[in-house]
């Protein structure tokens, strides 16, 4: 049978993949995608805990799922703003590589 720990392990590995992407890749778009992976890993463990904690009414704990809903909304807004900043940066410097954008002011 599938236990809660299996879902938590999948979520942990997915979070690590996203974290490794932020550490290893130098392309800003890939870094944003890795951030999305990490947010989704957190969502997976939240939903797993929600299903695990069945209340006295016999339903899953919906507080966690509302939290996941908020995370998805905020993540969509974050992606839109992040990509707009990326486009503005590309217009100014013609690059999306974080090694080329090491100065705070130009």
């Amino acid at each position: 049978m599938i236990t809660l720990g299996d879902y938590l392990i999948v979520s942990g590995i997915l979070f690590t993949i996203g974290f490794a992407g932020v550490m290893l890749r130098r392309n800003l778009i890939i870094i944003l995608m890795s951030l999305e992976l990490m947010l989704n890993a957190a969502n997976l463990s939240l939903v797993a805990f929600s299903r695990f904690r069945v209340g006295p009414t016999g339903l899953p704990d919906y507080n966690a799922q509302v939290f996941v809903f908020f995370i998805i909304t905020v993540a969509a807004a974050e992606v839109a703003v992040g990509l707009a900043i990326l486009v503005a940066l590309y217009r100014a410097r013609q690059t999306t590589d974080v090694n080329d954008i090491s100065s705070l002011k130009f």
Binding site: T3, V10, I13, T16, G21, I29, M33, F70
Partner: protein, 167 residues
């Protein structure tokens, strides 16, 4: 959900998640991310969270990934592929990520509750959307409206950021 289906979708999610950071081509990365999100939506549905699974497909695999692909095509990022890799910093980053993975696995291993299976739900069908809606518009009404303001601010910010400066 049978264990076989769980492992199929978990492996799908993880393999294509790894493909996102391994691929050198940003378009291939974005398409791998779509497959990874679809696998994740299947995992959500295996946990009886049908509404979350559906908005995962609609919002992430639909809207957000189209936005990513649109930006990648707009910027035409193929020139960045042939860059030299600094192996020392890459190895250090990978080591930090592996340490994090070891920590997470050890915490989950020592977590006694995690070895239990999921408790059964009484009914064969649950009214998922109605329950989430009741929670969202009842208990969480104020956060919901604050998130609405946040999305409005993000929209205005994006329009301002992407406007060309008058010369």
């Amino acid at each position: 959900m049978s264990p076989l289906l769980f492992w199929i979708f978990a492996l799908l999610t993880l393999i294509f998640g790894a493909a996102v950071i391994i691929n050198r081509n940003p378009v291939a990365s974005a398409l791998s991310l779509v497959v990874s999100f679809l696998g994740l939506a299947a995992l959500f549905m295996s946990l009886n969270a049908y509404f979350i699974g559906v908005i995962q497909v609609l919002v992430y695999a639909g809207a957000v990934m189209v936005l990513f692909l649109f930006i990648i095509m707009l910027l035409d990022l193929r020139a960045e592929e042939g860059r030299r890799v600094n192996w020392l910093t890459s190895a250090a980053g990978l080591a930090v990520a592996l340490i994090l993975l070891g920590q997470i696995l050890s915490v989950v291993g020592h977590f006694k509750i995690a070895h239990r299976t999921f408790p059964p739900l009484p009914g064969s069908t649950i009214d998922d959307v109605r329950n989430i809606g009741a929670a969202l518009f009842g208990n969480y009404n104020l956060p919901f409206q604050i998130v609405g303001v946040l999305v409005l601010v993000a929209t205005i910010g994006v329009v301002l950021l992407s406007k060309r400066e008058p010369r």
